[in-house]
């Protein structure tokens, strides 16, 4: 039963070999036209006065008093053309390089939860640095996880440099690509670049093979935060792929109607991308969306439901419309516990993102509308991803698989069970150590959650991460100390 394989050192990226369209070209055009109108006539708040002159020169209209920047259509289209449609997210281990070529989808961890469901007690509690370390180790093992996010906050560490501590933990505990999405101000961005450069052995190498990436979130409606944009600028300066993501909530921070919701999100995301392309033309960037709707009764954020699934698909298609890789909020159901609805929700959510061709899907492991991390949830989400991958990965329509000759031969015997052809291909069928599918008489009944938990315990006990050198670890710690002193001195 406990026959788990050692880490395969491969990531199971999903190959998009089918075509599916939810929105028509005409519908996408309508969203684009409204977006252009709003970008041109209303603008987005971009409170970074130090670059207003550059934006002006590029053709943007800056209202210095209220920080509102308007982008005429020509500037929008010109800037978007500069963004590369395909690029790599690199990893310490080259086997884990992520090729955002538009033909593959990649699942990551989700983040960043502030609480965790304790593996031993089953109780919820605030997350710690040690929790992040363990969670990243599990993610390092799981082939379904192509790259990592800080899935839990290092809640027991100083807030001012929490994101740096989180990055150091991730650099030490996985050799997969790291999207350092909790870095949201200039100081932490500077520290993050330094930390990553330790592992790449220099900033030049980091620029050539960025092993970290970042994105910044808009503040809906129609605004960005100064700290956030300054962080983006620091990352861009070092050649770190930096995307922009909106998390608008229909009914509270965005229109209640789904199309209106999409338009607003589109305005915000594009404004961020255009801003950065003006300053750093050609910087790898991506289109991120975690949009959702409000529950009208309680005010809670939905994260589970047909509106969410639709928004995921439509956002992925919008990103493709702009020839940008997409990062689509996937799974992270609304429930406090793993239950029937949480399973239904995550399955449909993952299916929606994958069918719509999301390039990056964030992600696995969180419950309660992305507030709480659960190890069991991570395993179950990885299983959902496996099932869907196998559902919509087209088989090879080869002579061998069509098997005309086998069919012509075997009908005499009456079954295929012992045929060589069957032995050649049966291992391609899906099987799972977590989802039982068929009860085997005599075996103890186990819930999926219990099986997931057993699996996690095995991983934590047996999986060995590829550690950094002692020198590198010391250098990372030195940098953390340096920044700790900065904040103690109050210069942050």
């Amino acid at each position: 039963m406990l026959n788990y394989p050692p880490a395969s050192r491969k990531i199971t990226k999903f190959e998009k070999r089918f075509s599916f369209r939810l929105l028509s070209d005409k519908q996408l055009d309508i969203i684009h036209t409204s977006t252009l109108n709003i970008l041109e006539k209303v603008g987005v708040k971009i409170p970074v006065p130090q670059i207003y002159e550059i934006l002006n020169e590029a053709g943007a209209q800056v209202d210095i008093k209220n920080g509102r920047v308007k982008f005429p259509s020509t500037l929008v289209e010109e800037s978007l053309r500069k963004a590369p449609p395909n690029f790599y997210l690199y990893a310490r281990n080259r086997e884990f390089d992520i090729n955002l070529d538009g033909e593959h989808s990649y699942l990551s961890l989700d983040g960043c939860a502030s609480t965790i469901r304790d593996l031993d007690s089953g109780q919820s509690r605030s997350s710690t640095k040690h929790d992040l370390e363990k969670a990243i180790k599990v993610a390092d093992y799981l082939p379904q996880i192509s790259f990592v996010w800080p899935c839990v906050a290092a809640g027991d560490c100083s807030e001012e440099i929490q994101s740096l501590i989180e990055l150091a933990v991730m650099l030490k505990n996985t050799d997969k690509h790291i999207q350092a999405m909790t870095v949201v101000n200039k100081l932490n961005a500077e520290g993050a670049v330094e930390l990553a450069a330790v592992v790449t052995e220099g900033k030049e190498n980091l620029k050539k093979r960025p092993i970290i990436s970042n994105f910044q979130c808009s503040v809906s409606p129609l605004a960005y935060d100064r700290n956030s944009l300054e962080a983006a600028m620091v990352f861009a300066e070092s050649g770190i792929p930096t995307g922009f993501m909106s998390m608008q909530v229909g009914g509270s921070t965005a229109p209640i109607t789904l199309v209106g919701n999409l338009v607003q999100g589109n305005v915000e995301i594009l404004a961020g991308i255009i801003f950065l392309q003006i300053l750093y033309p050609g910087l790898p960037t991506f289109y991120g969306s975690c949009s959702t709707v409000i529950d009208p009764r309680t005010g809670h954020v939905s994260c589970s439901g047909p509106e969410d699934f639709f928004l995921q698909m439509a956002s992925a298609e919008l990103a493709r419309y702009y020839h940008l890789p997409s990062s689509i909020g996937t799974m992270a159901h609304s429930e406090r516990n793993i239950n029937y609805f949480s399973g239904v929700s995550n399955a449909i959510s993952a299916f929606s993102s994958m069918l719509a061709g999301a390039d990056m899907m964030c992600g696995a492991g969180l419950m309660a509308s992305a507030k709480e991390f659960s190890y069991e949830q991570l395993i179950l989400d990885a299983e959902i991803y496996e099932i869907i991958s196998k559902t919509i990965t087209l088989p090879n329509f080869s002579k061998e698989e069509i098997a005309e000759d086998v069919i012509s031969k075997v009908h005499n015997k009456g079954h295929y069970l012992s045929d060589r052809h069957t032995r050649m291909f049966y291992k391609n069928l899906w099987s799972s150590k977590i989802f039982p599918r068929f009860e085997i008489s005599g075996e103890l009944e186990y819930s999926e959650k219990a099986k997931a938990r057993e699996f996690v315990e095995w991983i934590l006990k047996n999986h060995e991460i590829k550690p950094l050198s002692t020198q590198q670890i010391n250098q990372l710690d030195e940098i953390i100390n340096y920044y700790e002193n900065i904040i103690k001195g109050g210069r942050a």
């Binding site: 906050a153 809640g155 929490q162 909530v249 509270s252 009208p296 309680t298 005010g299 507030k371």
Partner: protein, 214 residues
């Protein structure tokens, strides 16, 4: 127009969430000699009571609730100063000061709680977002608040909730006001750790919490 009709219109302006109309009606009524207290007791407050009932029944949802609370606030903006001048006090279940803590600009959850409390008969002073500890303390003292509500949506701004409680202690008024905390990363155990009097996960929980605390 007779008084009854005017009061009916006032109730309706709340039920339909029309802040401009409610303010207009309040102004006209006061100018024509109707007392502000009557306007509230027979007009606007009756409207907001009905809103609370409709919400509890499941006929009204947050969009209606928040719009109605805005209309209520608009009427109160006109009537409260007059009441103060006349030294008349209106009956409320309690006085609540609420806001989002320093360096945090998230306001929707806090506004929903504020609206829910207004709809349930509390007098609410919403200080907005990015509020300094000293501003919370000053307002609590000024209005003699029964409850102070602190909202934080970031793990990095949650510590401010602890700070405000410490400042209340330093000012010697900690025991004069109940402190409740909320926001997505806030938990029951955090509330206990920092010595808050209560925690609620959403606006509905906040109303129930206040009924127990006061």
């Amino acid at each position: 127009m007779d008084k009854e009709k005017i009061f009916e219109k006032m109730q309706l302006s709340i039920l339909e969430g029309e802040p401009e109309l409610s303010r207009e009606l309040a102004e006209k009524a006061v100018n024509s000699g109707i007392s502000p207290l009557e306007c509230l007791n027979n007009g606007f407050l009756k409207g907001i009571e009905e809103v609370g009932k409709l919400y509890a029944k499941g006929d009204y949802f947050l969009p209606e609730l928040v719009a109605s609370a805005e209309a209520m606030k608009s009427a109160l903006e006109l009537l409260d100063p007059i009441l103060k001048e006349q030294k008349t006090e209106r009956k409320v279940l309690g006085k609540v000061v609420i806001g989002t803590v320093l360096d945090d600009i998230h306001d929707i959850g806090k506004s929903i709680v504020a609206s829910m409390l207004v709809a349930n008969g509390y007098e609410v002073y919403d200080l907005g977002v990015n509020v300094k500890a000293s501003d919370f303390i000053d307002k609590v003292q000024e209005v003699k608040a029964d409850v102070l509500g602190l909202s934080a949506l970031l793990t990095t701004t949650m510590p401010q909730q602890k700070l405000v409680i410490e400042e209340l202690q330093k000012s010697g008024i900690r025991d004069k006001v109940k402190v409740i905390v909320g926001g997505a990363p806030v938990t029951q155990s955090w509330a206990q750790e920092i010595g808050a009097d209560g925690f609620a996960e959403d606006a509905i929980g906040a109303v129930a919490l206040l009924k127990n605390l006061l």
